[in-house]
Symmetry: C2
Subunit: 495 residues, 2 copies
Amino acid sequence: MFESAEIGHSIDKAAFDAEEPILREALLEAQYELRAQARFPVIVLINGVEGAGKGETVKLLNEWMDPRLIQVSTFDQQTDEELARPPTWRYWRQLPPKGRMGIFFGNWYSQMLHARVDKRIDDAQLDQAIDRTQNLERMLCDEGALVFKFWFHLSKQQMKDRLKALRDDPLHSWRISPLDWQQSKTYDRYIRHGERILRRTSRDYAPWYVVEGADKYYRSLMVGRILLEGLQAALALRERPVRQPHAAPLAASLDNLHLLQSLDLSQRLDKEQYQEQLISEQARLSRLLRDKRMRKHALLAVFEGNDAAGKGGAIRRVAAALDPRQYRIVPIGAPTEEERAQPYLWRFWRHIPARGHFTIFDRSWYGRVLVERVEGFCPPADWLRAYGEINDFEEQLSDAGVVLVKFWLSIDRDTQLARFQEREATPFKRFKITEDDWRNRDKWDQYSDAVGDMVDRTSTEIAPWTLVEANDKRFARVKILRTINEALEAAFARD
Amino acid sequence: MFESAEIGHSIDKAAFDAEEPILREALLEAQYELRAQARFPVIVLINGVEGAGKGETVKLLNEWMDPRLIQVSTFDQQTDEELARPPTWRYWRQLPPKGRMGIFFGNWYSQMLHARVDKRIDDAQLDQAIDRTQNLERMLCDEGALVFKFWFHLSKQQMKDRLKALRDDPLHSWRISPLDWQQSKTYDRYIRHGERILRRTSRDYAPWYVVEGADKYYRSLMVGRILLEGLQAALALRERPVRQPHAAPLAASLDNLHLLQSLDLSQRLDKEQYQEQLISEQARLSRLLRDKRMRKHALLAVFEGNDAAGKGGAIRRVAAALDPRQYRIVPIGAPTEEERAQPYLWRFWRHIPARGHFTIFDRSWYGRVLVERVEGFCPPADWLRAYGEINDFEEQLSDAGVVLVKFWLSIDRDTQLARFQEREATPFKRFKITEDDWRNRDKWDQYSDAVGDMVDRTSTEIAPWTLVEANDKRFARVKILRTINEALEAAFARD
């Protein structure tokens, strides 16, 4: 994999001087076109051997291009806010918006590679990390991002020579850290594991570019040209390439029996049972959230459901159990401008609770496979891939100790009609009912299909869906509280 | 000040039960109207004696109203990301957007009060903290925010009784922390210093409401009614009240001599001098940023100037001195939707560098008194108050160790014309010139006035303006780098 990057590529200064101004101007043009189109972000990952010119090349790119449109991010020490959340959170918060370029030093590849070289993880764990990375990159690319992955390479001898040269140069000796010297000792392991990573993560949509780093003219022109050609091609496309989904449609049941029809919506609680059970479940939740074991976890509850199924009321009964400092409610409506400039999961990542905290999503990332699917707000290819992306996302949450509970509040059509009419008749409830609600109601069957597919594809052991029979609000509220409590207790028991 | 909150106010349960549902419905209505208008945020500050029902009242408000539109924030331990920035940063990042309500527990008042009670600060320092707070609140109100400040009160005896009652109640004993008991010992000091704070910060635009906390019905209804009446009045206003600025206009010089005219724009550097000085200043900057003393500081450079004065080129020469991991460039254009929902300084606060870091603003908060003033994007009252707000803002940065350098790049009209024409003639520079640039050029004199006023009112010892003679780009670039270096060295020398 690295052979052709150890053969001593070089370019003479004259050739470089002749090409540089042309390349530079073209890169600038491409960069402004990128900003003008504002259709996709560019993500540049910088990896490779120490001393192979990673820093210098990024510096040069910033000189060649307009640095105001480039965000360079490093990921060294995690801050305590980052440590309290899933590991990927720190990358999500640094993603460049559409029209911009983000250069990631010390990204997910260096984290896993260093962990493997230092023997903090074994091969199997490295492969797990690789898998997660592939999911992330595929998602970014499917969302339109243009990803460049550079590996700056030096042979062992080249690396030693380079470090020595740097050490002996008073202007640059500060650049070498003890870590760099250490790498010259672990070089073989570094390359072996690096190759495994590159081999497994080079994909058509996000290939690796291995650049020999010994000659600065050569490596600079190589990187510049690769960026330029990639940018120009993507800018010329004009349309975001959409991966072809599987040819077969989502399977509809042959007997026309749907999951939601199997619910017994007649389940009820009388007032007395309700009061008693509600208070006892609320006290239980309050106790669990104050439990010491909660420090290792976060709690995340997702509320979805038919219009007028009682999401708001249920959320209030959950909140009523708690001190308002203990939870945060995130209502999900139309995305803001800054959110539209990012992959669709970005707006949820920004609200992921830190350990010890509880966040309630009033509607959620499932909008992608519900309203966006049914209303045609995104093409089928986009919502079809969302099931897998959501499962990946939720696995990351779960791995980080987030206890995830997801509720679909289900009512039947008659109940919905009665509630709509009641809302229209009650002054302070009128805000709750809009034209949209009536329109959605006409698409009842389509929504039922979407819910069925959603549950089939995203109800997992780590993040199961709880279908809530919500014709009776009391029954629903108690079931929701109890489900949250049981999920927390199960998580504590597993610790 | 607290006398009438110690006389044993109470309301019987029947009266409470009669009023609660009406109040509740009205609060909900007001809350939805607030969201619908989305004209201003509501900020509720919760302070007062322990055991006086602060937590319970906020909990009740969340039950009465729609908790999805309320953000409750606590400010206990600072995270390391917060510790690396000016103290106010943590409040700015939690500000509710227009249309929402934010409830701040443990806000700026509790910080300063506890500090004074624990004798970490003296009276003079308390007064300084009070001053800063007044500036902050006045700014928030001038930006349209509706601020409620509640002090929940108990007499010393009431407080002791309350703590005992809580301790003896198994359901609530967990609520009392050792800190609460401590407060019963420091009660007198707490009240004395609390009174000083309330006295000095109760203002027409943000008055204090002292609520006796002993009786839960009384305090709940009081707080609910105050909120409701304040909300209804503000919602009915329809127009943001604008403070009347001083009657006299900004003084124009009688002799028509302007600051910018006094610059000697003929200063030049020849190519050789330039190369030599540029490289030496770049090396100096690179060294300074790696200096250990930099860990206590952050560096923030603001670039403003005439169109085509060479801001971009100058920024690139500064960046060229550095590793791209050491700086971040923030280009300021039109505000995004999320930024428009906040006070105008919010979009700059979010990019304030952490200690050890360097941020370059390509245009800045001075847009308020430049383009927004000249183009009439905001009423005179708004930009007139901005001078003071900006000085307050910069003082906070400076107090936190941020080294602030501000550049106005000045060219004459002929030079600008020549550069505009050159830009139009050069393919990869055409993006740099727009209709707007030509229009701005017609307002040359108005911009000159605005720059003069800006420098007169915001060039301070802690954050001086550097006027840069920029007809010669080489001269300008070197002067800028040298100024940054000198500012850093001066800051290090003061440590």
